[in-house]
Every structure is written in C-alpha cells, then in structure tokens.
C-alpha cells in the first residue's frame, strides 16, 4: 500500500522569455512524486533543468521572465501549488518547506550575526516573541546541526565560520520551521570532500529525527546512492530515467544514466580511457589505447627544491602578519609522467601551481628545468604552461580563437609569418577536436568543454615540456570531464608531456596520476606511487580523505561495467 505522496509534480513545463528571441524551454514535461519522509534525488548536469524544477516548486522563479505552462500542476498534499495566492504560498514556505543552497556564503547576510539571522527565521516559524525563547530555540537548533560551542557561535559573523559550518547554519535555518519537505540544491558542491561527508551524514540523521522528506538536487550520482530512496535523472529539461535508487544505480536502463555512472573515474575502476557521451546522449565505449606507456629511460622534466611561499595578511593594528601558504617542499617530475597533487581548499596546491608556472615568485627554493636554459618569463613559457580551472575566465573574451592561439606563437617567435602561425593554430585546434571554423569566433560561443580544449591547445602551441592542470576539469560536467581527461592522456602519450595534475577530486587524480603528493595546510603529509597511496594510506589525513569519497554505488555494479 503506497502512502499518498507529499508532493506531486505533473507535466511541469517552464519557459524563459528572452528579449527579441524565442522563449527558452528549460523544463519540459517533468513528472515525479515525493512520498512523505522519503528522499528523492534530482540528478543532472548543468542545463538539465533540475534547479529550475526546484525553484518552481517553491514558486521562487521571477514571474516576469519565467512562464509555467497552464497544464502543469504541482500538487502539495493534493492541492495545486500553482493556484495558491501569494499569501497562502508564503504560509506554506514558512510552515512546511525548507531550502538550502549551494553557496552558503552567498545565502547568509555578511553584516548580521548568525544569532540574528537564525533568530529571525525562528521567530517567524514559531511566532515566538520573547528574546529568551528565541535564543533557547536557536541554541537547540545549532546543537542539533552539530555546531560546537553554540553560545559563542550565535554572536559570530558568517565570515568567521568555515564553509561547512555555514552550511550547517543554513540547515538549522531551514529546519527551524519543522518542514515536511527540505529542498537541498547542490548543498555540498562548494565544500571539501571531508566536509561533504559530514553534511551528508547530518542530513541523513536529521531526516530520521524530524521525519521530513528531502528533495536532493545534485550532479553527482555517487552522492545519490548515499542518501536517496528514489532517483530522477534529468537531461536537457526532460526526465530520462526514474525509479528506485537501488535499481537505477545498479541496472540503469537508459544510456545516459549508464554514461553518468561510467564517465566518472572511480577508485575501483581505472580504464586506460574513459567512455564518453556524444551529443545525442548515447554512451560511446572507451577507445582502447594502442600503446601502453613506454617504460623508457626516464629523464627529469621538472625539479622543485625547497620551495615555499608566504603571504602578507592584515594583522591586528599596524602589525602585518604573514601566512605561510606553503612550507618548503620539493619533488621531481619525470618526462611523460603525471604527478598528482591532492588537497582541500587552503592546502596550498594552487600556490604551488602558480609558482611552478612562474606567476608567483617563491620565497625560498628553486624551480629547475634540467637540460634547458631558462631565462626570464619568455624562456619559462616554453618549458611550462598552465591550464586553469575556469575556462570561462581563462580565455580573454575580447579575442577571437585565432588571436588566442596565434598570440603565444607570436610572443615566442614561432612561425615566420602570420599565415604560418595561423596554420599551426589550426593544427592544434584539430588536435583537440575542433576545426578551423572556430578560428573567427569568440570564446563565449563555445561550451565549457570546448573552451577548456581551446585553453589546452593554447598552452600546447608553445610546445611546453610540463603542463600544469590546476583543477582543470573540476568546473566541467561529468561527461565533458571524461572527454578532457581522455584528451590529456592522448596528448601526454603523443607528446611525452609531463603533467602536474592538481585536484581536490581523488578519483580523478587516481585516474591520471602515476605519483601522488598529498598536501594539508601547506605541508606534504604523504607522497608515493599512486597505487600505494590509495591502497595503503599511512597518514591519518589521507585515510580520512579516502574514506570521505562517496561510495554510494555498490561495488558489484562497477565490476559489471
């Protein structure tokens, strides 16, 4: 006997008006139900319409731009939400719905204390007047979401809390209303992997305690397995597959779901190349690489000795304090090999990347490229190049692709005249899977994955020996990430590139790296061959990191792939 659903979304269609253009249909014909006390996960990549769906349930979409189709219905305990008066909707939001967002820092007002913001939602939820009552309830909530020293935290400002604590405060605010449904929109995406684990555990506990339903929105299928009872997979505004979590994740029927599961490298599954999704959403099997890595005599491409860096931060009064971002460290990177650098935010991994790339000057130590005379910035450019995290920011938006690709050639004096440089640029474009039609277009006309490939091509035009990838695939969707990772591996085999691969994502680093360096608060806590570090982590921090990786998908299903 199925219980009557708490929330029922029927044939939801949302279109956005655009000035002078056809309306953009973001969600088309989405159906799903949320039973009481259950967790339903909406899974999809960027542009799949998952957040729009959540916002239309809350009726928080701007009505001047977004238009919900007349035949769509969102039933809350059998009544259509879309016909509620604004007054009734406010009451519902206050009494029965809670929402947490991806970016807790943006959702908290920086000029008010935690106590004031939490107190406001407590007062509104309970209709309590007395300050003492509000305070008592706030303390209770903070304790419930696992914040240590709730008394002192009440008078703290948001910036004094870590990202994980901020998200806990947001959860406290959301559950202050005793909601029947909690909508969580990518609540852990901006957080480090160990913090993500804590928040997921907290959500699960709270759900049991408060017997509420959760609508969990994420792009990460592995996370879904940890929390959800049912899963709805969305792509380009449509539902491609839905069902019980255990069934969908173990025996996915749709190609796209299967792709989402296999495109992402996992610790237990390390193919030479990753399968990718084509434009129609079909799964393309991994191409076998013809030649295994050659165990040729290893030469050294990059030598880092005792490099450290500290930054000046504002101290108290006139004094200036220094913050040690990176303790002295050293490593050797061999030609054609990959060194993976793993660490959470603030561990100093980006500082290391920028020093090797020559963007920052190290305080101490030496960065050396054996066998090459490196003089000045220009000389270093031909030795080492860097692919940045965000392909939307790392390409100059006012340059055409032709300008972007020929500029480094011109700066390095490669190619004797403009036509020759253009021909070289086209060769690199083709090498990363684009063609000369891209030459006269601007970066904003390309998707994230294409832009990242253009950024890689731009770095390679000067034939560097070392390529630094600083979180280069973190901002990309899973399917696109697989394409870029495959491309990097192909290029490495072909050009004998050495990669310094930096990421917070341990599975991706495991897929790419031969050797691993684990950074924690500016210090190397563990290093060694990748398989050794992952199989037998010695340092407690590494053990904690590895344990925190979402293991939601039963290992048996990975073996079946």
């Amino acid at each position: 006997m199925k219980p009557s659903p708490l929330l029922e979304v029927r044939d939801l269609e949302v279109a956005f008006r655009q000035a002078g253009e056809m309306p953009l249909v973001a969600v088309r014909g989405v159906d799903f139900t949320v039973p009481p006390c259950a967790t339903v996960a909406l899974v999809g990549e960027s542009g799949s319409g998952k957040s729009v769906t959540a916002l239309s349930i809350l009726r928080l979409l701007p009505e001047s731009q977004a238009h919900i189709h007349e035949r769509s219905r969102i039933l809350w305990e059998g009544r259509n939400l879309l016909e509620f008066s604004p007054q009734a909707m406010r009451t519902l939001r206050r009494r029965s719905l809670g929402m947490i967002f991806q970016d807790p820092q943006g959702a908290l007002n920086p000029v008010f204390t935690i106590g004031m913001q939490l107190g406001e939602s407590v007062r509104r939820a309970e209709g309590m007047g007395s300050a003492r009552q509000v305070r008592r309830r706030s303390l209770e909530l903070l304790a419930q979401v696992g914040i240590a020293n709730p008394e002192t935290r009440l008078s703290a400002y948001p910036h004094q809390l870590s990202g994980g604590q901020q998200q806990r405060v947001m959860i406290a605010m959301a559950i202050s209303t005793h909601p029947q449904l909690l909508i969580a929109d990518e609540p852990t995406t901006a957080l480090d992997v160990t913090v993500q684990r804590q928040i997921m555990t907290l959500l699960r506990e709270l759900q049991r305690e408060l017997s509420m339903a959760i609508l969990f929105i994420t792009h990460d299928l592995a996370l879904v397995g940890e929390i959800a009872d049912e899963v709805v997979v969305m792509r380009q505004g449509r539902v491609v597959e839905q069902g019980r979590c255990s069934e969908v994740l173990v025996t996915p029927r749709h190609d796209y779901t299967r792709a989402l599961l296999t495109c992402r490298p996992t610790l237990g599954n390390l193919p030479e190349r990753l399968p990718v999704i084509d434009d129609q959403g079909n799964l393309m099997p991994a191409r076998d690489s013809s030649s295994p890595r050659s165990p040729d005599p290893l030469s050294v491409a990059l030598e880092v000795e005792g490099v450290s860096k500290s930054f000046v931060v504002q101290g108290s009064g006139w004094r200036r304090a220094r913050f040690q971002a990176l303790e002295p460290l050293g490593f050797v990177l061999q030609t054609g090999r990959t060194l993976g650098v793993v660490g959470e935010s603030g561990s100093g991994k980006s500082t290391l990347a920028r020093m090797v790339a020559g963007i920052l000057a190290p305080d101490t130590g030496r960065i050396h490229f054996p066998g090459a005379e490196v003089t000045g910035r220009s000389g270093r450019a031909t030795q080492v190049q860097m692919v940045f995290q965000n392909p939307f920011a790392s390409l100059n938006p006012r340059f055409t692709i032709a300008q972007l690709l020929t500029e480094p050639l011109m700066l390095q004096g490669l190619g004797s005249h403009a036509d020759e440089r253009l021909a070289l640029a086209v060769r690199w474009l083709e090498r990363v899977g684009l063609n000369e039609r891209a030459l006269n277009r601007y970066p904003h006309e390309f998707s994230g994955g294409q832009r990242q490939r253009i950024a890689i091509a731009r770095c390679l035009t000067v034939n560097p020996r070392v390529l630094i990838c600083d979180e280069s695939v973190s901002a990309l969707d899973v399917s696109v990430q697989a394409q870029v990772l495959n491309l990097l591996r192909d290029l490495q085999d072909e050009l004998d590139l050495s990669l310094l691969f930096i990421s917070h994502d341990l599975a991706v680093v495991r897929f790419m790296a031969d050797e691993i360096l684990v950074l924690y608060a500016g210090q190397v806590v563990e290093r060694g061959k990748a398989e050794d570090v992952y199989a037998r982590p010695r340092h407690p921090y590494t053990q904690q990191l590895l344990k925190a990786i979402p293991q939601g998908i039963p290992l048996s299903s990975q073996g079946a792939e």
Binding site: Q18, A19, G20, R354, A357, G358, I359, R377, S378, R380, A381, V384, Q385, M386, F388, Q389, N390, A393, S394, L395, N396, P397, R398, T400, A402, E407, P408, L411, Q412, D419, E420, L422, A423, V426, E436, L439, N440, R441, Y442, H444, E445, A455, R458, C459, V462
Partner: protein
C-alpha cells in the same frame, strides 16, 4: 604548406552592444539626436553654417518673428559720417592733415558705398549688436560641443593611462597616483579651475580645453583603476603572463578591451559635465574670448538683456543646450545598459 583562412570575424561584444542599443527606443532616439548635433558641429567647422555669426544683419534687439513681411527692412544712408566730420570750425588755422583728409575723401568718393539695409525682425531675433541669434547659436553650439569633446578625450586619456598604471602595478605606483588623486579631489572644483585658469593667463578655446581636461580626469581614473585591480588577477591575464606576454601587452592589449565599456561610459558622462562646465566658466568670464561665441558667453550676454525684456537669446540658447545635454545623458544611460557585460547572455 600554409593555407589562407578567411578572417571574417563573427559578432563581437561591440556589435552586440550596438544592436542592443538600437533595440532600446530611448537609446536609438538619443543616439539620433546626438549624431544630428555632431553633424551640425561638423558643418559649422567646415564653414558651411554659422560662418556669418559676427555680422550685424539687423537693428539691435530685433525681435523674433515667424512671419516676416516685405517691409521688414530699414535702410541707413551710407557715407554720412564723412560729410559731418569736415565741418569742424578751425578758427583760421589750417588743418595740418588737410592734404591727407582730402585724399581720403577723394578715395571715399570713388568707392561709392552702398546704403546698408538692416532687418527689423529675424526668425530667432538679434542681439545688442544686431547679430542673428540663429547664426550665433550655431557657432556657439560648435564651440561648446567641440570644447566638451576635446576636453573629454583629454580627460579620459589621462584618467585611463594613470588608472591603468595604478591599478595594474599597484604598490608604490598606486600609492603615488592615489595621493595625487586625493590632493586634486580635495580642492573645491571651481577653485581648482580658477587656479589653473590663472596659471594659463590667457583666454581661449585651447585654454578652456586644457583647464577642463587637466581637472576632470579624476572620475575616469578612479573607475579604471578599480577595473584594473579586478582584472589583473583574472585567469586570462595570468595565462597571458605565463605565455610570455609583457606587462605592457597585458595592460593595453589584454585588459584594456575588457574595460573599454567603462571608459566609454565615463567619456560620455564627462562630455555632458564639461559642456555644462564650459557654460559656467564662460558665464563667469573665464570662458571663450569675445572674438568667439559659445553657449556660455551667450547666456552671459542674456542676463543683461533679460532686464530689458529681450528674452530670445536666452530662450534659443537654453533650448539648444537642454536638448543636447538631455539626449547625451539618455544616451549615456542606454550605453551603460547596452555595454554591461552582466547582461550578456
């Protein structure tokens, strides 16, 4: 083997912005008005319009009229003055200059000057000296807009260069330029303008441009500096640096096009401000010399005329100025909306 690729670019940010500006009715309208004024200024500069603004063509304070009749002229006899000057009694003395006088009189006789005919009314009316207000306002528009344009170019240039250097290099350069900026902005504006005017010691359009340009760059400086501060750590600039681009190339080739929308909006805001400043300065007597005419000097004359009830010079000048300044302000707003990268979708 090299292959030639066609270099026809696809739509860039500028043409997109222009298209957005054109879609906005206010933007389209104000752009039309401003363009009309600029064409007018060009024609005056070329000498096709307003060239005879300094000729007395009517009786003084000829009122404006919309329907001139045929009898709208008065003819003053010519050569009168010569006859009268010759009947000064000399009490028996001979004028030592008599030979010269007679020679001059003989020459004057040969010329046979035509009698001068003056209009009694004009479409826009006439000023104290009988000059056509319509012609004057054309010439005045040219002077004022020209001064505003050139001064705005100068101020934007100084502000952009200093702002880019301060924002990009930071540290000592920034401290130095910021200190200079702080000192300059702490002086009351008019006092500063008078001080610069006192240093130049001469009136003229060139002086006016220098005064406005040298004092008006501070707003541009502040905004451009802030933009450069923001952009210098952007990943595309770091990437250019890692590829071996020099500092100069990063400042002028990479960042400048990305902040140009800010500069353009500042330029048009400065243009509005400088045109108003020119009017104020000319009104206060620090503006254009008497050999020239501008909106400000016309308004200055108008204050005396108004006491006599001669309102037309004030009216015509005010309308001409108000239309231009309003259109320019609207265009600035529309430009800012059209160029705002946050609206790019």
């Amino acid at each position: 083997m090299t292959q030639i690729y066609s270099l026809k670019r696809s739509e860039n940010a500028w043409s997109l912005a222009l298209r957005r500006l054109w879609r906005d009715p206010v933007g389209r309208f104000s752009l039309g008005v401003v363009m009309g004024y600029l064409v007018l200024v060009g024609m005056v500069l070329a000498g096709w319009l307003g060239a005879r603004w300094n000729d007395p063509v009517a009786v003084n304070y000829a009122p404006p009229t919309w329907c001139a009749t045929a009898a709208n002229r008065v003819t003053l006899p010519a050569g009168e003055a010569w006859d009268r000057s010759s009947v000064i009694p000399l009490y028996g003395w001979t004028d030592p200059l008599e030979p010269l006088w007679s020679e001059a009189r003989a020459a004057a006789q040969r010329i046979q000057p035509e009698p001068v005919s003056y209009r009694l009314t004009l479409f826009f009316g006439a000023d104290k000296w009988g000059r056509d207000v319509g012609q004057k306002v054309l010439k005045g528009t040219q002077t004022s807009v020209w001064v505003g344009l050139v001064a705005a170019f100068l101020a934007t240039f100084i502000g952009t260069v200093l702002g880019a250097l301060a924002g990009y290099y930071g540290r000592g350069v920034d401290d130095l330029l910021n200190g200079f900026y702080g000192v300059l902005t702490s002086i009351p504006y008019l006092l500063l303008v008078f001080a610069v005017a006192a240093v130049f010691q001469q009136k003229g359009v060139g002086t006016l441009i220098l005064i406005l340009g040298l004092t008006g760059w501070t707003g541009v400086f502040r905004l451009v500096r802030a933009e450069y501060l923001k952009h210098r750590t952007r990943e595309y600039v770091l990437a250019a640096g890692a590829l071996g681009a020099s500092h100069g190339r990063r400042v002028w080739v990479h960042i400048l096009p990305n902040v140009s929308h800010v500069i353009l909006v500042q330029f048009s805001q400065n243009l509005v401000g400088f045109i108003k400043s020119e009017v104020i300065l000319s009104f206060l007597g620090f503006g254009v010399p008497v050999s020239s005419v501008s909106w400000g000097s016309m308004l200055n004359e108008a204050q005396n005329e108004l006491i006599l009830g001669k309102w037309w010079q004030l009216g015509v000048t005010t309308v001409a100025m108000a239309i231009f300044v309003t259109a320019l302000s609207l265009l600035t707003d529309a430009l800012r909306d059209a160029l705002d990268p946050r609206l790019n979708s």
